[in-house]
């Protein structure tokens, strides 16, 4: 399931009450002549019907889109909800509206499959009328996928699936940035210049500054990180005088060095891990990342807290926290780039049980409150 198939016959529901589910069953068997059938979970579905008026809808929606970003979705609500890539059906439910909605979803799906160009052309008017909150969620989702990718959880026994989660940082800009970062950390003054790029970039480890000549911007940097390097780059140590001379020649923008490398590692990895990382060996955290100055990927604080409490493997981490593996892999790739984590070569999974905090429910409520702010 969940393939880009144009036939949407298996439908799952989220947030839909029992009575409505019963109505849907009758509609699917009767007027729809068996064209659709209900399935238990989105994992088994070709499409989802989501009731946006249900209890805790916002969080449920976020969790759903995080897990199934590309699953065709029909939104039910009393009020107009225009969310990109979904079809809206206004409540109260009517048989005709549901069937029209599903047909429209099917058509949208066909268009998506037929389209050769991946870029979507948005209707500016439709965008204007979206609720700000929905837009914010969409933007957040887009950013999350830029940093963490779309990889589904893998079965560690399946060789083909395991292969998909590896990448080689040294074949990308990330590898050079990591080396330059390490060299700059060992300097007491001066910096490291990456030679061979179109415009100069200087690493100043002591100051935690990345100086990028004006030709660079975030979009260009991201594009560069996605493509394997084709030309040879060179790392050149610079003293303070040489940096001043370059600063006189070019206009530089100063960025925080640790956050820049962190982002580059996330962009390049997109939910993968460096080749050679053992999935079953424990992750050793040397220190907490300075999260206030970094991109905080989903579950990053939670994963770090777990590693700080007890080293455990990447797979064990995802399993214990009941989260998608790609979020664990993303954080590992970013922390490994900054040399904050390593893999323990000697020890395997420990399978130690965690003790539940006596006030877990209270702590969860405080967290929910902080997340909603």
């Amino acid at each position: 399931m969940n393939q880009p198939d144009t036939q949407l016959s298996h439908i799952a529901t989220i947030g839909v009450d029992k009575q409505t589910i019963k109505v849907l069953e009758l509609v699917f068997q009767g007027p729809a002549k068996g064209a659709y059938s209900l399935v238990a979970t989105p994992q088994l579905a070709d499409a989802v019907i989501f009731d946006l008026d249900c209890f805790d809808a916002e969080n449920q929606w976020k969790a759903y889109r995080e897990k199934h970003p590309q699953l065709p979705t029909l939104i039910l609500s009393l009020h107009l909800k225009e969310i990109l890539g979904t079809v809206f059906v206004q409540k109260p439910l009517q048989i005709e509206r549901i069937l029209k909605g599903l047909t429209k979803l099917q058509t949208l799906q066909q268009v998506e499959v037929v389209k050769s160009a991946p870029a979507k052309i948005e209707n500016p008017h439709a965008r204007d009328i979206k609720l700000a909150q929905e837009l914010a969620i969409e933007e957040k989702e887009k950013a999350i996928h830029e940093y963490c990718g779309y990889l589904e959880d893998i079965d560690p026994k399946n060789h083909d699936q395991v292969e998909k989660i590896y990448y080689e940082p040294n074949k990308y800009l990330q590898g050079f940035f990591e080396k330059a970062y390490q060299m700059s950390q060992e300097q007491t003054n001066g910096g490291i210049w990456i030679e061979g790029l179109s415009d100069p970039i200087i690493f100043q480890g002591e100051e935690n500054v990345l100086e990028c000549a004006v030709g660079w911007n975030e979009q260009k940097l991201r594009t560069m990180t996605l493509m394997p390097l084709t030309k040879k780059l060179q790392l050149t140590p610079l003293d303070a005088g040489e940096i001043k001379r370059l600063e006189a020649k070019y206009t530089f923008t100063k960025l925080p060095l640790d956050n820049s490398l962190w982002k580059i590692a996330l962009w390049t990895a997109r939910g993968r891990i460096p080749r050679g990382t053992n999935l079953h060996h424990r992750v050793i955290l040397s220190e907490w990342p300075n999260f206030t100055g970094l991109i905080v990927t989903p579950h990053a604080l939670q994963i770090t807290a777990l590693w700080a409490m007890r080293p455990c493997s990447l797979l064990e981490t995802a399993q214990h926290l009941h989260i998608q593996q790609r979020y664990v892999f993303s954080l590992f790739s970013a922390t490994a780039a900054l040399r904050l984590t390593t893999i323990d070569r000697n020890n395997h999974d420990s399978n130690t049980e965690f003790s539940k905090h006596a006030k877990r429910t209270l702590l969860q409520r405080i967290l929910a409150r902080l997340h909603n702010e």
Partner: protein, 180 residues
């Protein structure tokens, strides 16, 4: 305090580290602060008053649970209050002022002073005013913590930023129970 849906979080650290401001960033009520003019001169005027009694704020949760936020008096002469304040607390947020003469010494002092409470709960550390005084770096704080046999969440923080104070508190909550 930890009954009848009432719980508390403790903010501590030296005078001027931003405890009152951090509490204000999270609190649902105006922060009650007992402050008087400092008798100790703070040269750059960043903080014109220092707290000589406790700060108080509150987070209200949907089910009527109340999280009381207490800021301890920053001056050592009030440390008799610390044991009373921390009793039944959920955890400790230690704020350090990077512009003070010896912030790493401050960290050691407060971790020692609250060691009993920290052993029962958890602590996170926020370092403020790193934009004004860049040294010491976080690396140096981490080195000292390693010497002390500790690995703690330690972030640079602008106490006025709700996001940054919230991240600090989230790190505390996950340190208490990563499976939240």
């Amino acid at each position: 305090m930890a009954n009848n849906n009432n719980y508390k979080l403790i903010f501590t650290g030296p005078s001027g580290a931003g405890k009152s401001t951090a509490i204000a960033s999270l609190s649902d009520i105006p922060v009650v602060t007992t402050e008087e003019k400092s008798t100790n001169l703070i040269p750059d005027g960043y903080k014109k008053t220092i707290t000589v009694a406790l700060d108080y704020g509150m987070i209200r949760l949907k089910n009527d649970d109340k999280i009381h936020l207490y800021g301890t008096p920053g001056q050592e002469r009030f440390n008799f209050m610390w044991d009373i304040l921390t009793e039944g607390g959920l955890g400790l947020i230690l704020l350090l002022d990077n512009a003070r003469t010896d912030p790493i010494g401050d960290m050691q002092f407060f971790l020692k002073a609250f060691s009993g409470f920290i052993q029962k709960t958890k602590v996170v550390i926020g370092v403020t005013r790193t934009d004004m005084v860049a040294q010491p770096k976080l690396k140096e704080y981490h080195c000292k913590l390693k010497e002390m046999g500790l690995m703690l969440p330690i972030f640079t923080v602008d106490a006025r930023s709700q996001r940054e104070v919230s991240l600090l508190l989230q790190a505390l909550l996950y340190s208490l129970d990563p499976e939240l």
